[in-house]
Amino acid sequence: MRIKNHPILGFKARKTITFTFDGKTYQGLEGDTIASALHAAGVRKLSESIHRKRPRGFYCAIGNCASCNMIVNGAPNVRTCITPLEEGMDVRMQDGKGRVE
């Protein structure tokens, strides 16, 4: 899902970043957010809605809507569309509202 050729934008070669999503290993690129890396890897469902458990993806991609909330390194309600991807991150699908430990 990465753009290879673009008439205006030159996408430089970027370092790969390894992370896990629901325990499985994935790779993103330096400069990615968690959501952009998952999307590039073909993962579009990021969570389930609180009451009816309907699939949720991102909507705004700029941190406005909370549609992309996931559990990151144990912390729930992380807006993955504006959170930079980091090496070794543990990303999980969020079910419900999340709990404060």
């Binding site: 899902m1 990465r2 753009i3 290879k4 050729n5 673009h6 008439p7 205006i8 934008l9 996408f11 690129l29 400069g31 990615d32 957010t33 952009s36 999307h39 590039a40 579009r44 469902k45 990021l46 809605s49 309907r54 699939p55 949720r56 993806g57 991102f58 909507y59 705004c60 991609a61 700029i62 941190g63 406005n64 809507c65 912390a75 569309c81 504006i82 930079p84």
Partner: protein, 360 residues
């Protein structure tokens, strides 16, 4: 608690220009943004801009953004706080923001709010499925992160944003199956529309989405024709095979923070929804708090830049700085703004500003 002389919320074109004016006047400025990058909406605008020559029309949005960043970023009196989301604003100008999981507070002598807008959605069955994305999100994914939103896109909305994002999808090598519009005519500039028509994208008016189809994500869309009352006509349904439904159906100002602070708010449909009540110098109803850019009424980058400058100048003067040529500068900016809002495309915004009491 940290303190600052002037806090600017939002580092889009409006916020950055306000910062420039305040720094020039001698003020100490803190610029805060929830993103990792400065530039707001401009971070993803790869197209040549329309708007005012003086505000760099015909340059690309991303290049205009770089000019604005270079203009301020090394200034010794500027502090930039990134990845920080403002979540609370109080009347005494105490502002709360979150970085990661930590809450911080800062007290400011003056605040310019330039938080921009959020994208609207429209109701239809399954509009919450992954694959139903806002146009700005599609643009961010492609132009900032280099990721395709999908393989086949149905574009909804023919305003400039819908037209431009369609073009950018084609540039990224993504197929746009169709562009549909609920109104009976194309909303954006015809030059943009002709360009994408020439590239083979079918534009249909009086059409909307009936439902999205798919289990865990969008697999197709059902569209239908609308009557004059914008109601779907049974029997006109058509299935469009696509994995993305891209919503370019307008923006709404992000007024919540000012609302929370107790600033006077007014609903003005022509400006995109709830907007802060401001005077022509961009002062809100709260002392030394200013609003500008899309969050004070949906317009465009050129006007956001000029409005940002006016807001910055007002803040500088209210903070007691002597601004060289203040009167001339403000008069010139107002004049340029009114030129920009001239003509049929500016009609809506003129009407909105009249309702708000900014224009007579």
């Amino acid at each position: 608690m940290k303190t600052t002389e002037c806090l600017i919320v939002g580092a889009g074109p409006a916020g950055m220009r306000a910062a420039k004016r305040l720094l020039d006047a001698g003020a100490e400025v803190t610029l805060i943004d929830r993103s990792d990058m400065l530039g707001g909406q401009l971070t993803k605008q790869t197209h040549m801009f329309f708007g005012s020559e003086k505000q760099h029309a015909s340059k690309r949005g991303i290049d205009i953004m770089q000019l604005m960043i270079d203009d301020i970023v090394n200034h010794p009196k500027l502090t930039v706080i990134k990845n920080a989301t403002v979540v609370a604003m109080y009347k005494d100008r105490v502002v709360g923001y979150v970085i990661g999981e930590t809450y911080h507070r800062i007290q400011a002598n003056a605040i310019v709010v330039a938080a921009g807008a959020s994208e609207k959605a429209i109701p239809f069955e399954n509009n919450d499925l992954p694959g139903v994305y806002a146009a700005g999100a599609v643009q961010t994914l492609m132009n900032v992160y280099g990721v395709k939103p999908g393989h086949k896109v149905l574009m909804v909305g023919s305003g400039n944003i819908g037209l431009i994002v369609t073009y950018q999808l084609l540039q990224a090598g993504v197929e746009v199956v169709k562009l549909i519009e609920a109104a009976d005519s194309i909303g954006g500039y015809l030059v943009h529309a002709s360009k994408i028509k020439r590239l083979g994208v079918d534009i249909e008016t009086n059409m909307s989405v009936k439902r999205a189809i798919g289990k865990d994500e969008v697999e197709a869309a059902e569209i239908w024709r609308l009557d004059e009352a914008w109601q779907g006509i049974e029997g006109t349904e058509e299935i469009i095979e696509c994995d993305v439904i891209c919503m370019a159906v307008g923006l709404a100002p992000l007024t919540e923070l000012l609302q929370q602070m107790g600033a006077k708010i007014m609903y003005v449909r022509e400006l995109g929804g709830n907007v802060p009540v401001i005077d022509k110098d961009h002062r809100t109803s709260i002392e030394r708090v200013y609003a500008c850019g899309d969050m004070a009424g949906i317009e465009e980058a050129s006007s956001a830049m000029m409005a940002g400058e006016i807001a910055g100048l007002s803040a500088a003067v209210d903070l007691g700085y002597h601004v060289e040529n203040y009167e001339d500068d403000v008069a010139r900016l107002r004049h340029e703004l009114s030129n920009l809002r001239d003509g049929p495309h500016g009609e809506k915004i003129r009407l909105g500003l009249k309702k708000l009491g900014v224009l007579s």
